[in-house]
């Protein structure tokens, strides 16, 4: 029996990241040089970006017996993932160092998580999809628990792990039903089999429910959202920053691969399930966020509502909807990087800037940071001319285009409620007196600069959203054929 060597070129970025993650493990084990690991991580991600850009093409290339695909959508999402990871790592450096967790382990875990995301993004088979998901999740569980002395972090890790295991179980159960129904794990073949008609619609519906539940857990959609606030709150803020950003791109890819590549013929069924989840997410996310006094929890609930909004684009089931959702995911990651990045940046040793009260009078202490935060909050609330507005607008357009006006109306209503807590942050920063008048901890010039760029990007993409929109639409077009 011979095993022909598969075409490795499409998977070159994954191979690179895997190799260098192992190198970092070795460095950590023998040299304990965190600084080197930090630099190497950044170089790895930049290198992976270069390779991805270099190997990427307009054609979709399958390899590993059709389990892995390298296509335009995947390339764009991977590049955004690297960008998010790089940004998160740079933001986190000072925070980690001050809390004694600036270690090689962290960077190894970051790279393994990124690898998991890349596999998810490029999966064209249920097994690869699951493999990537588990690699990502296990890395994240460990990252949450990284700060071992913190009870909250350990508790959060525990919850995340147990609930994640439950979700994985649900997902696997659903996948097994799909396999039983179609006799294949290959997404394209599942799609083909479903198109020919299935023997038992009940089994299909069962399978769909479980698969969608698993998906809902990863995205953080209600009613599978319960882990989000506790994990975001309990984890070290730097880890929250990482969990809250790049993995959302992977989760979006996961949804696209599973629902669109694999289960497109059952669109009518999963559309309604997603609609229920989307409305619940927007309702619970926006309403609960109002009551929060902790900005990490507030942003966690905000994430839930944003993910509900993202689902709206996918469930529209049209090309416009898919590319709107992709644009939304990227825009969300940008805003979220800035939001959590600001929390990380403002937190010093022995002090977490995680209560809303800590933002009172920020304008008088640091007008520039307040302005950046203001841009981010306006954008998250969906106020023009920031990118968040166009993200919401394109989703709403696609909904109306698909004839789902009632969902669009609900989405607008909940966004309106949501605007309250974003604007409250602005009110606190600009109109309330600060608790302490001291200057903001302002070291780490690279983080500060990147944060400013982050805020400006949100503004610039809002002023000129067209290139990014075109990029999303183009990639989606090439991938979906």
């Amino acid at each position: 029996m011979t095993y022909p060597l598969p075409d490795l070129l499409p998977a070159l970025p994954e191979i690179l990241v895997l190799t260098l993650a192992c190198v970092i493990l070795v460095i950590e084990a023998f040299f304990k040089d965190a600084k080197a690991a930090y630099v190497l991580t950044l170089l790895t991600l930049l290198g992976a970006a270069g390779v991805t850009a270099f190997t990427g093409g307009e054609m979709s290339v399958h390899t590993f017996n059709g389990m892995f695909v390298d296509d335009a959508m995947g390339d764009v999402l991977k590049l955004m993932t690297y960008l998010a990871a790089i940004t998160a790592v740079v933001y986190s450096r000072g925070y980690l160092a001050e809390r004694g967790i600036f270690k090689g382990e962290y960077f190894a875990l970051v790279l393994f998580a990124v690898l998991g995301m890349m596999v998810m993004i490029s999966a064209s088979h249920l097994l690869t999809l699951y493999l990537g998901l588990e690699l990502l999740s296990l890395s994240l569980y460990a990252m949450v628990a990284l700060h071992r002395e913190s009870q909250a972090a350990v508790e959060a890790a525990m919850k995340y792990f147990v609930l994640g295991a439950l979700a994985s179980g649900l997902l696997l159960y659903g996948m097994s039903m799909l396999y039983g129904l179609t006799g294949t794990l290959d997404l394209a073949q599942i799609s083909a089999a479903l198109r020919e008609g299935v023997s038992s619609p009940v089994v299909l519906a069962f399978g769909l429910v479980f698969v969608v539940a698993g998906l809902g857990f990863k995205l953080g959609n209600a009613p599978f959202h319960m882990w989000v606030p506790d994990v975001y709150h309990g984890a070290p803020t730097a880890v929250t920053l990482f969990i809250g950003t790049a993995p959302k791109l992977a989760a979006f890819a996961f949804a696209m691969r599973l629902l669109v590549d694999g289960l497109e013929p059952a669109h009518g069924d999963w559309q309604q399930m997603l609609a229920v989840m989307a409305v619940l997410s927007m309702a619970i996310g926006n309403l609960a966020a109002i009551m929060q006094t902790n900005i990490k929890r507030m942003l966690a609930y905000s994430t839930i509502s944003h993910m509900g909004f993202l689902l709206l684009g996918i469930l529209a089931g049209t090309f416009a909807g898919y590319s709107a959702a992709m644009f939304y995911a990227i825009a969300y990651v940008l805003m979220s990087l800035g939001g959590f990045g600001m929390v990380v940046y403002l937190s010093r040793a022995g002090y977490e800037a995680e209560n809303l009260d800590d933002y009172k009078g920020l304008n008088s202490r640091s007008p520039w940071l307040a302005a950046v935060m203001g841009i981010l909050m306006f954008s998250m609330a969906g106020i023009p001319p920031f990118v968040g507005f166009y993200a919401k607008l394109t989703i709403l357009q696609s909904l109306v285009g698909a004839g789902l006006v009632w969902l669009a109306v609900l989405a607008v209503l909940f966004s309106l409620i949501g605007a309250f807590y974003y604007l409250r942050v602005i009110k606190l920063m600009y109109f309330d007196a600060p608790h302490s008048t001291g200057a903001v901890a302002a070291e780490a010039g690279d983080a500060r600069m990147l944060l400013s760029l982050n805020g400006l990007a949100v503004l610039l993409l809002g002023l000129a959203p067209q290139p990014l929109m075109a990029l999303c639409a183009n990639a989606m077009q090439l991938s979906l054929q």
Binding site: A167, L170, A205, F210, P223, Q272, A283, A288
Partner: protein
Amino acid sequence: MDMQSLYLTVPLAPLAGALVAGLFGRSIGRTGAHLVTILGVLVSFLASILIFQDVLAGNTFNGALYTWITSGDVSLEIGFLIDRLTTVMMLVVTFVSLCVHVYTIGYMSDDDGYQRFFSYISLFTFSMLMLVMSNNFLQLFFGWEAVGLVSYLLIGFWYTRESAIYANLKAFLVNRVGDFGFLLGIGLVLAYFGSLDYAQVFQKAPTLAHESISILDGHAWSLLTVICILLFIGAMGKSAQFPLHVWLPDSMEGPTPISALIHAATMVTAGIFMVARMSPLFELSDTALSFVMIIGAITALFMGFLGMIQNDIKRVVAYSTLSQLGYMTVALGASAYSVAIFHLMTHAFFKALLFLAAGSVIIGMHHDQDIRNMGGLRKYMPITWITLLIGSLALIGTPGLSGFFSKDSIILATYASDLYGSGFAAFAVTAGVFVTAFYSFRMYFLVFHGKERFHNAHAGHDQEGGKDDDQHGHHGGGHGTPHESPWVVWLPLVLLAIPSVYAGWAYIEPMLFGDYFGGAIFVNHEAHKAMSDLAHHFHGAGAMTLHALMTLPFWLAVAGVATAYYLYMVRRDLPEKIRRQAGVLYTILDQKYGFDRFNDWFFAGGARWLGGRLWRWGDVTAIDGVMVNGSARVVGQFARLARGLQSGYIYHYAFAMIIGVALLVTVFVG
């Protein structure tokens, strides 16, 4: 210069004057302000004469100069319709405006708001010209509102006076009522005709003559009747017809020149002009015509009664104006549109004359307006005396003078009409002749004849300081000795006296029977035969004058004058006795039929009551309480609930997930 630029010159010259005087009044000074505005109006007047000659030569114009908005099939334009009806109005407006501008130099000479005043009256002239020259409903409405605005500003010209503020607010509010109807009428026109252009609307009107709409469920109304009545409600507000007349007497709070220009000669006749312009619509609805005629008749008679007991010289003239507007409205109702316009024109001359003469008297009396304090002014103010006498004679319809021809034609038209209500109208306008003659000569005798009462009236004068016409100090001369006014004041009187005398004689034949108006006014002679009847009995101005000596109106007028003479010259004690004897009747007249009191109580009080309730129930309870705070409270409760779900126990979370899956399975599997 081509005709279109000439047309544009007419409204734009006064506008330019208004802008210069208004914006740069401080730098150009008093003389500059009156020179520039008078120049503007003079240019406008001369251009109007040129246009008049051009139109007489047969050149009419109807076209858009500028398209404002095009939406679907409807385009909103600024355009002019220059025909014979328009040119009459243009001449009247610019001529009276010119006289008033000149007069104002003398009348307002001591006022601080000199430049402002000139700016306003020029702005008014512009607005009025835009109104009459319009070729579409939108521009008509613009002019309509613009003259209303300037009227509001001018009534409240002395804005520190409580009574002036009250009066201009009243005028504003009452006109809102009329404008509401007017706007609804225009809206209906747009809805059913699909155009706001006069020509298109009039062309299409006959095809919609039998269209009906249902306003309340089950009651079908003729579309054109509804449109015409709504448009006429607008005219009732602007032309102060019963029951929307209440603002006009109070508008006398404004300076006298604007009482002459706006509240006698021009603006208040806009409603008359509008109905005449819309004659192709009104001709199609007998119901609307009857409505118009009855409203006019009520105004003509009952407002005249009120004039009989007024003691403020301007108020006497004001009620006289109301009454005369009623006459014009009656003529409209009788389909005698050209007669209405004819009376509008003659009335503009003699009523402006009366107002300006009254103003001259007020100047001579050092701003005392109470006619009981006057008497014997004849020898102190000879020019004012003569001109006011001419104006009064014209007003009461002395055969040969202008008012006679127009008013007698109206009376004859009502007799010839056979619409519902024409009998009442005929009675009202005939009886009105006596009333008119009585109050006109009551005022005349009290002011110019009899004992000189001003010598001992100054205590009273000072007490009634609030009624004085201005705030500035008395100028020149001893306190209490009347004097003739300066030439800028009496020159306009003389200028206006001339047409007051001859305009009727000269123009009755061409305007009423000579097909002067041609296509500008449309009359359905088959159905409404008043005009053809009139023409049938008309044998020239001279014959009409002679014939009048044998008719009832003439002798009623004579009786009116004689009664006034007897009561106020011979038996001076009688009026007081009659007043005491009359009791309730006098009270009713003194209270002006209780309209003001009713309006204050019902509308003003009611609106405030309603506003208070709405504020408490609607705003505080419903909007603030339920909608704003209530929705916030609901959101807050749900938010608390959503947070409560987040217990922190892992088995709760896992349970929620399982419940979620179970729910999805229940809903979607099966």
